[in-house]
Symmetry: C2
């Protein structure tokens, strides 16, 4: 019988083995008293099972406020499994099972979901990314190398006309990819339909002239029917990508738009800090991204190396690799493209290429392009030059000697990044 397996980092004032059993009971057939109908046969058939418990350390006091008391806390790894027969291959119900009420238990003084391993029934139920790396390269006409991208900045406050004229300058700079900021949605100050119409006129004209169609990830985050209409408008005006804020629309929202969409889904993870900032409560990116890839994310944000946020480079690199790791042992890989962003400039390109071990990623520089001293063309050129430097095996400084755009980027951004 196929089982779902979840791995956690757990801390408890009780012996870890006992706490693991409480979690398994709470998240399957049990409650705080043994009930008449909870027979041994029912438990064997439907119960969650503790597969492994590894105590790694003991702590003198609980990391999170905790009702249960103990002389000390044990902390370590546990693995719990569930029969898929209970919830079926359903992402929303999987989430309620592996990341539901367990975080609230009085027996838990720290709990992080580290990973989840799914039976192939999920592959049968969910189509995953429709475009991924190959489809994105096809639509952008970029056969190799990282996609050089940016975010419309200022994030908010530009009119549709202003946005289009910025896109014009960006397109002329040779950029591959542009996204709306996640704060720019469909408000009266810059209605999405107007923005799409103005921007796509520019993009289409540029494509007619040069043969290069810039991929614009329009932020269609909203209600289901609204997102479907917005997607259709983007498609009908010749657009090649839409963006959604994952936490805002939820898993059911994501699968609904995936099943409707004919364009790549650029998936923004804003709000992710809620799950990642505390070492004592949350979900690892490795586990989290599996849900959204199954649900259909083509591009997944992973923050950036030397980012302006609080995340370590090791964590960013692990996330970028996770997105490019096959989801199942066999069958389709469900690979998404990692998206690097947050305070990115030419200085971080080399580390990003090293992190992924490939060039199959989107590199989004906001200030690094828009704030480049020579303007957006200088910003884009500096990023291409950084890619060349890595490919040629020379240092950025040496490569910048005869490349003024890269030199200007090193001078302007060196201080912020280092």
């Amino acid at each position: 019988m196929a089982r779902i397996v979840a791995e956690y980092e757990l801390e408890s004032p009780l012996p870890l083995e006992h706490a693991a059993e409480v979690i398994a009971g709470e998240q399957s057939s049990g409650t705080f008293v043994r009930l008449p109908g909870e027979t041994d046969d029912l438990r064997a058939r439907s119960g969650a099972r503790v597969e492994q418990v590894t105590v790694q350390e003991t702590r003198a006091s609980p990391s999170l406020p905790c009702k249960r008391q103990g002389d000390q806390c044990q902390r370590g790894r546990i693995r719990i499994s569930w029969p898929i027969e209970t919830m079926g291959p359903s992402l929303p119900n999987l989430l309620a099972t592996v990341a539901g009420n367990l975080f609230e238990l009085a027996e838990v003084s720290a709990l992080r979901l580290l990973d989840v391993t799914l039976p192939s029934a999920f592959a049968d139920a969910y189509p995953g990314p429709a475009f991924g790396v190959e489809g994105t390269r096809r639509l952008t006409g970029l056969a190799e190398g990282p996609l050089i991208g940016t975010i419309i900045k200022p994030s908010v406050g530009l009119s549709p006309e202003d946005t289009a004229s910025l896109v014009q300058r960006l397109a002329e700079s040779g950029i591959d990819f542009i996204k709306d900021d996640e704060l720019q949605a469909n408000g009266p100050a810059c209605p999405l339909a107007d923005r799409v119409n103005h921007v796509m006129r520019v993009v289409n004209n540029h494509a007619d002239k040069t043969g290069k169609k810039v991929m614009i990830a329009f932020n269609i985050t909203g209600e289901i029917d609204e997102m479907k209409r917005s997607h259709d408008l983007v498609r009908d005006t010749g657009g090649t990508c839409v963006m959604v804020s994952l936490h805002s629309i939820g898993l059911a929202g994501m699968t609904a738009i995936r099943r409707h969409a004919e364009l790549p889904l650029h998936a923004h993870r804003n709000g992710w800090g809620l799950f990642s900032r505390s070492p004592d409560i949350g979900i690892s990116y490795v586990a989290w991204q599996k849900f959204w890839r199954l649900a259909g994310a083509d591009h997944l944000h992973v923050n950036g190396v030397a980012n302006k946020f609080s995340e370590s480079d090791d964590s960013v690199i692990a996330s970028a690799r996770a997105v490019a790791t096959p989801l199942f042992g066999e069958g389709p890989d469900y690979l998404a493209m990692p998206v690097f962003s947050s305070g990115q400039t030419a200085l971080q390109m080399g580390a990003s290429m090293a992190a992924t071990g490939s060039n199959d990623f989107i590199f989004c520089a906001g200030g690094g392009i828009m704030g480049h001293p020579d303007g957006v063309a200088g910003g884009v050129a500096s990023l291409r030059q950084a890619v060349e430097a890595v490919q040629d095996g020379v240092s950025l400084e040496d490569h910048a000697l005869h490349r003024p755009e890269l030199a200007a980027a090193l001078k302007a951004f060196g201080r912020q990044v280092q």
Copy 2:
């Protein structure tokens, strides 16, 4: 110009005022460098504004791992406002604005969203609960007093036939409300359609005989189209309620089912521990429940007094009151019914009634009914007797002297609760 106001608890290694400005910039027009297009006029029109900063304490070291360093950390309250023109009255985009990337900032060593105050445009855009207290009382035929309810237990593992026979016994015990456990969804072991058909036959027969129709919250959590079909099946078989796991379906999923539904939406908050367990990162229930009431939740889980989880009674009571507080200064109140659950028995009824200051709540006892020594009828009777005791102003112990069911509950559950 109408503005959205959010209040946070913030800690930072920088002066709190500075950190608040970083958040306001990051969450509106700014980025890590000031950009050419970010004019003073644009900032005034579109920027977020720091409205208030109150330093409450200083701490020697950051509460969460934090890239920025300082000699000490300031901690306190801040209020930030946004013009609604940017995102419009859209719940998904509101979430990305007030609870988006800000949690990840390097300048933040603790951050909790405490409250959000919304302009009336949100009332125009979202219908809110369609049933609430009044509609739920109408459908259950219970004019006054708390709704006595339970959760199907064992949570998982019962067949549709088993579930129906348990519902039969519960209906005969005089219960008002029964819900699926959030772990019981639509898997092959107990398909929802079979469960609905079997259970509703029992419920309808009982209603024909007695005039009392038990409200069953069938867990329809799933994909959008699946939820709509499941809702229609429940409605067509005479059912009067459906349940969804909010974090599993997301805001877009919730509003989609709300706009389709003709039955009350019983809203489960499993996964809530992710936002509430740490004192240093998260969202308060006061802020969180406003999103889901606007989205259409009729019944909202608030945990229970003396619960089996880690939450304090003060927090539970504040949550129950929040759900029953009008959302806007004028116009419709958007009141939802608080749902008490988690280790609830007759012993907690009095505190729950005192907490709400009304009887307009659902009291869900799983083990407290199913695990009652005299069986489910004893469990239900013990809860009704506990309500009587409070209403008569006598102690549970005195009231139990001539009421064996209440006496048995006190004896069986006293140890667990106290």
